[in-house]
């Protein structure tokens, strides 16, 4: 079938500037020879810029490849295999767990120039290369009355490939699910440089690749499911004196049977940080705020659900404000989206948790984390997709004034709160390097063994994104050479 529309994704037909100078290592030289100087970055200034994501800095790669096709990816992977160096895939590097950060010197493959996007409205599908910016899928689909629901906070920046690698969620995930729920098929390149086409039949290998953070293969293209947007959306903001009350409101609302599209919370420190940036008139005196969207094609049901949520909020001690206009609702959601980076106004660095706990345990968990934060003396803020029980406690710190060990220790204790209440370590940001040390406590040894077997089956030499997800085996100092 011919696609109806090729989207206007950013990009340029102009010749890209060439990497100047002579590559100073054999891998960069070989790649430059086979792919040409415009697709390979070999200068130090260029390579230095591919060693970080939105959370940490790692090792400077030997070379960076900016592929424009799957064939380029294959060439790059084979060159790295021949050189015996690790490979790290990278989208826009807006990730928050270190997933795209090279832990060892090797090759980085950055997908930002693989931006072909086709929409097939009859099939309600889009075919996107890995570097397509997430929001542009919806923008291309909208003229056909369709949208692509996964909406991570970074969706203006982040790429489809990166979202797949982390199985990213977003506020809409409570009702509509996460990235992986919208994948019909995948193309990926394995550690040997072979290209595979996967669907969701038989063994759901696509499901295995999604959320594997580039440790099992490099996703180069995906067929994504599109849906019609709901006809009506209603937004409300509830404020609470204390963060636990906010969690109680959520539990009550969901117990009544309401299925809001989005249920998000921010604690007082988040509200202040966002107000400093956007000055939207959010209640700075509140201990926590809850942002809720109810949506659907039947206005009565949408209003009814909003009323149920409002009542639950009031019963839990909150005050409720309805967004009067679409513009007001959009501003409130912009506020929520900006929380993460706006926290930089408080401290330059942060340790970002991504725990998920049973909803029934929410009030207790948020209060326990609040107490741990207060006792530590470090600024701890909380926000997240509370409808899913997905919380993002963030420890903010200044490495020049505050001890990284104390930060790590506090992060560990927060992770243990989640585990103790029957929760898990990651909802949407992935394990990466940040939560890798806690994996032994979160996953039982037999299951961890099964994960290691899967990794060995698909990447026997341990060349794909080493140092992520799986903790070192007992007695081993480095996961892989």
């Amino acid at each position: 079938m011919t696609p109806r529309k090729t989207a206007l994704t950013p990009g340029s037909r102009a010749p890209k500037p060439r990497s100047g100078g002579t590559p100073d290592n054999p891998l960069a030289a070989e790649l430059t020879r086979s792919l040409g100087p415009q697709k390979v970055l070999s200068n130090l200034s260029e390579r230095r810029n591919y060693r970080y994501d939105a959370i940490q800095f790692g090792a400077t790669p030997l070379a960076v490849v900016l592929p424009e096709s799957t064939a380029d990816v294959v060439t790059a992977v084979r060159a790295a295999r021949a050189a015996g160096v690790p490979i790290v895939g990278r989208g826009a590097a807006s990730g928050l767990s270190g997933g795209a950060v090279p832990m060892q010197t090797g090759l980085v493959i950055s997908f930002t120039r693989m931006i072909r996007l086709e929409v097939f409205p009859e099939r309600r599908e889009a075919r996107a290369q890995a570097g397509v910016v997430t929001l542009s899928v919806t923008e291309a689909a909208r003229p056909y009355g369709l949208i692509y629901p996964p909406d991570p906070a970074s969706f203006r920046t982040s790429t489809v490939g990166g979202n797949l690698g982390e199985n990213a969620g977003g506020p809409l995930c409570f009702k509509y699910g996460v990235t992986g729920d919208y994948v019909r098929a995948l193309e990926f390149v394995d550690a040997d440089g072979e290209v595979h086409e996967l669907t969701r039949d038989a063994y759901d290998l696509a499901g295995l690749l999604i959320g594997s953070e580039g440790t099992l293969g490099l996703i180069t293209e995906a067929t994504l499911r599109l849906t019609p947007p709901p006809k009506y959306t209603r937004t409300l903001l509830a404020s609470f004196a204390e963060v636990g009350e906010c969690a109680e409101a959520v539990s009550r609302a969901i117990a009544t049977g309401a299925v809001p599209a989005k249920l998000e919370f921010m604690d007082a420190a988040c509200v202040s940080a966002v107000e400093d940036y956007l000055a939207l008139g959010l209640p700075r005196d509140a201990g926590a705020v809850l942002l809720v969207d109810t949506d659907g094609d039947d206005l009565d049901t949408v209003e009814e659900e909003r009323a149920l949520v409002e009542a639950a909020c009031r019963e839990a001690g909150g005050t409720v404000r309805r967004a009067a206009t679409d513009a007001e609702a959009a501003a409130l959601w912009q506020a929520r989206r900006s929380v993460s980076p706006a926290l930089g106004r408080i401290r330059p660095q942060r340790m970002n948790e991504d725990i998920v706990v049973p909803r029934s345990a929410l009030p207790e968990v948020v209060r326990e984390i609040r107490a741990l934060g207060d006792a530590s003396g470090l600024p701890v803020v909380q926000f997240g997709h509370i409808g899913d029980g997905n919380l993002h406690p963030n420890i903010l710190y200044d490495p020049r004034r505050e001890s990284p060990e104390a930060v790590h220790d506090l992060a560990h204790r927060i992770a243990l709160v989640a585990i103790r209440h029957g929760g898990v370590l990651s909802g949407e940001h992935g394990i990466g390097t940040m939560k890798r040390p806690f994996m032994r406590e979160a996953v039982d040894p037999v299951t961890l063994g099964a994960l290691r077997d899967v990794k060995r089956a698909l990447d026997p030499a341990g060349r794909l994104n080493p140092g992520k997800i799986l903790p070192d085996e007992e007695g081993e100092t480095h996961a892989h050479p």
Partner: protein, 425 residues
């Protein structure tokens, strides 16, 4: 971002730079806002990437020459500042960095001469006017010339208009309601003298007296943004002497780039004895659209005559107005106040048109590509006319829309208001 910038050794501008680096959490929210990232798709040509490069050059771990090509490709449009939730003052960083690094740059004699020429000619209206006239005759030769010489010729209009006299004082019409100082600008006097003429007429019609203080010069933005810090300091101080903020209700500019430059004076003089004077000055600076919108909001703006037929106006946000000065609503409110005018938004409105001060002359290929894209986006709204508040955008958009076969007029916002007052819109 954590850094080891040797701040004390770098002086007051070091503080400015270190503060900006500190504030960046490398989240990447700036990437989609950046024109060069949109074109090139690589990290070094993004704001986040450039901040890391500047940090490492300042720390002494990366040679300046390695970072320079990527820093030179930055348009200074500051769209990243608008997009940044962490409040990184990127504009202050890149401007200070260019001032700090320029004396260490190794440039070819030709490059040096070109830059010196630009900085001599642009800020001197009379010299520019002569140069423009010479260029006008050289225009037919453009295809034969190397790109560096072709770019400026491409930008010249077919006919360079005659200079118009600018009275030192334009009296208010009727009872005087206010008194403002006006920065006359440089190249714009030669290329588009009607911008200033229309500004003076519109202000007079609203009973505002306009003074062009004697001894004023170029705002210094061109020198500052190309790293000629000493030259910039000289011009800044010249204007601080010429304009006494206590004498005026406001100090106005009708060029977004110049207005942004004037508002930057306190950063330029940060840590120097005349910093306080610069703050008092900058507090009075407004873009012409901000000032007029203030009158409109107070219900004091003279009403416009309705247009004879409905008019669709595509308003283009100049980067130095929207991103550097945060002025977005004012020009739109003014245009909408003309009965019969509908203001339409341009797709990818936040993306720079590619003009960006001297960028057109220094990075002609990227500038051209952005110009093509901007013209296509504007024309997709099928406007009756195009309005903008900056001479650079005006020239760039006019030249690219004409090249795409359009005859839609490109006007300064204040020219549109002036025509509306005269019933000629």
């Amino acid at each position: 971002m954590q850094h080891d910038i040797p701040v004390p050794a770098l002086g007051p501008q070091g503080e400015v730079m270190a503060h900006a680096v500190d504030a960046c959490v490398h989240c990447g929210f700036c990437l989609p806002a950046c024109p060069t990232y949109a074109l090139l798709g690589d990290e070094m040509d993004s704001p986040r990437g450039r901040i890391v490069l500047m940090k490492e050059v300042l720390e002494g771990t990366l040679p300046l020459a390695d970072a320079a090509p990527h820093l030179d490709r930055c348009l200074g449009c500051q769209a990243c500042v608008t997009a940044c939730p962490s409040g990184v003052p990127y504009g202050e960083l890149i401007t200070s960095f260019r001032g700090w690094s320029e004396p260490q740059r190794e440039r070819s004699p030709l490059d040096r001469a070109k830059r010196a020429g630009i900085l001599k000619i642009l800020p001197a209206p009379k010299v520019f006017s002569v140069a423009a006239r010479v260029g006008q005759y050289a225009k037919p030769l453009a295809p034969l010339l190397p790109a560096a010489l072709r770019a400026p010729l491409d930008l010249l209009p077919e006919r360079v208009p005659a200079m118009q006299p600018q009275p030192p004082v334009t009296p208010a019409r009727g009872k005087r309601r206010g008194r403002v100082a006006f920065l006359a600008g440089c190249a714009q006097q030669a290329l588009t003298p009607n911008f200033n003429a229309a500004t003076l007429r519109v202000l007079a019609r609203n009973s505002i007296e306009v003074v062009l203080p004697e001894g004023q010069g170029c705002c210094g933005a061109a020198a500052l943004h190309t790293g000629a810090r000493e030259e910039a300091l000289r011009l800044v101080r010249q204007n601080l002497t010429a304009f006494d903020p206590g004498e005026y209700d406001a100090i106005l500019s009708n060029a977004a780039g110049c207005g942004a430059g004037l508002k930057e004076y306190p950063v330029v003089l940060h840590g120097l004895p005349d910093e306080g004077q610069a703050q008092a000055f900058a507090a009075k600076v407004q873009d012409i659209s901000e000032y007029l919108a203030g009158l409109l909001r107070a219900g004091e703006l003279e009403p416009f005559l309705p247009t004879p037929r409905p008019l669709t106006v595509a308003y283009h946000d100049a980067c130095h107005l929207a991103h550097a000065q945060g002025v977005r609503a004012a020009p739109r409110e003014l245009l909408r106040a003309i009965p019969g005018v509908t203001v339409v938004e341009v797709p990818e409105g936040n993306l720079c048109c590619g003009s960006a001060g001297t960028y057109n002359l220094e990075q002609p290929e990227l500038a051209n590509e952005l110009g093509v894209r901007k013209a296509r986006n504007i024309l997709s709204t099928t406007p009756d006319l195009i309005a903008s508040g900056n001479i650079g955008c005006h020239t760039q958009i006019g030249s690219h829309t004409r090249r795409q076969g359009s005859r839609v007029p490109v006007l300064h916002t204040v020219e549109v208001l002036d025509l509306a007052y005269r019933g000629e819109l």
